[in-house]
């Protein structure tokens, strides 16, 4: 009987889905319905538009490209190791990348927002709603700007977390499969 690591397969295909159909993991909308600014952030894409014009950070493009590649490779390795479960060594290919990235992601968002508050004085919550007030220098006077901000974590982030947990289970399940399945080498 051919055995596959079902948890690994699910994790691998979830990772592929997350990369190939990139949806934001975290969204911030400023003003009414994001008219003033919106930020769509995930490890694979970064889009910030402020007052109708995009904010471009060159390094982010290359980092997200690397991140996309890393996830695709992790997904392919995980799917491969979930189908070929004869070798104990293949456990190494059951990637925990989705788990580590989905744990690190909100931490990095929080750090990024703390830096933004420190540098430009704009307070944005990691999750929830807030009314942000800040001053802009005008022509000999200061303008006070009020901006309602809404941020939320999307279903894609939850899928990434699920993919990560599944990969962790897949690693344990791999051990079980190896113990119960005779090695091809020995057959």
């Amino acid at each position: 009987m051919v055995r596959v690591n079902v948890f690994g397969l699910m994790s691998g295909f979830l990772m592929l889905y997350l990369v190939l159909l990139p949806e934001p993991w975290w969204v911030a909308l400023g003003g009414s319905d994001g008219e003033a600014f919106h930020a769509y952030v995930s490890p694979f894409a970064f889009e910030v538009v402020l007052l109708g014009n995009p904010v471009d950070i060159p390094i982010v493009y290359w980092l997200t490209l690397a991140s996309r590649l890393a996830f695709i490779l992790a997904a392919v390795e995980t799917i491969f190791a979930s189908i070929v479960v004869y070798e104990k060594t293949f456990k190494t290919f059951l990637s925990l990348r989705a788990l580590s990235v989905s744990i690190l992601f909100p931490i990095l968002i929080a750090i990024g927002l703390a830096v933004a508050e420190e540098t430009i004085g704009l307070s944005i919550p990691v999750y929830g709603e807030a009314l942000s007030t800040f001053n802009l220098p005008g022509q000999g006077y200061a303008m006070t700007v009020e901006m309602p901000i809404r941020t939320y974590i999307t279903a894609s982030y939850l899928l990434a977390l699920i993919a990560g947990v599944l990969s962790l289970i897949a690693r344990s399940f791999h051990e079980v499969l190896i113990k119960t399945e005779p090695s091809i080498g020995r057959v």
Binding site: L51, N53, P58, W62, A66, T144, V145
Partner: protein
């Protein structure tokens, strides 16, 4: 660890690092320049023109011309100010209704003036207030001082 695992992991690492290295090469390995955000802010602004007092539907109002000099449409939603004559408060002024101003266009704000009993004779009245403007979902509040000469003001008020 088997040799092919090491080879696969090494190739994987190289593939992941390749875009970052390529990006660094494009920027001459200047990491700092890669981290600098580039952004062109749209212009925001409006200029205040003439303030002309008139009698309008039994109200004393001041027509203030405002030109949208920015790059996005704005809506003036509120203006509140005390009416000051020789430094003393002699009344209140407020925006009659919100006014939308498209790009590059000039529109009049109708500011209603309610005076308490006061004798006005010379120089000017001042309206040192704050204006609230909505643009692209933002609410911007800025100081707006309007000065009207008494002569034209008295004529508008019917000689009070």
């Amino acid at each position: 660890m088997r040799w092919y695992v090491i080879v696969v992991k090494a190739v994987e690492t190289a593939l992941i690092l390749a875009p970052i290295v390529y990006g660094l090469c494009l920027y001459g390995w200047d990491v700092q320049s890669m981290m600098v955000p580039s952004y062109k802010s749209p212009g925001m602004g409006f200029s205040i023109g003439d303030a002309e007092p008139v009698l309008f539907e039994d109200l004393t109002v001041i027509n203030v011309s405002v030109t949208n000099t920015g790059e996005c449409p704005i809506t003036v939603t509120d203006f509140q100010a005390p009416v000051l004559y020789r430094g003393n408060k002699v009344g209140e002024a407020y925006l009659r209704y919100p006014v939308s101003i498209p790009l590059g266009e000039t529109t009049y704000l109708i500011i209603v003036v309610e005076l308490s009993n006061a004798t006005l004779s010379d120089v000017v009245v001042e309206l040192p207030g704050r204006v609230r403007v909505e643009l692209m979902g933002l609410v911007v509040e800025a100081p707006l001082n309007i000065t009207v000469s008494i002569g034209t003001f008295l004529r508008a008020c019917g000689g009070r």
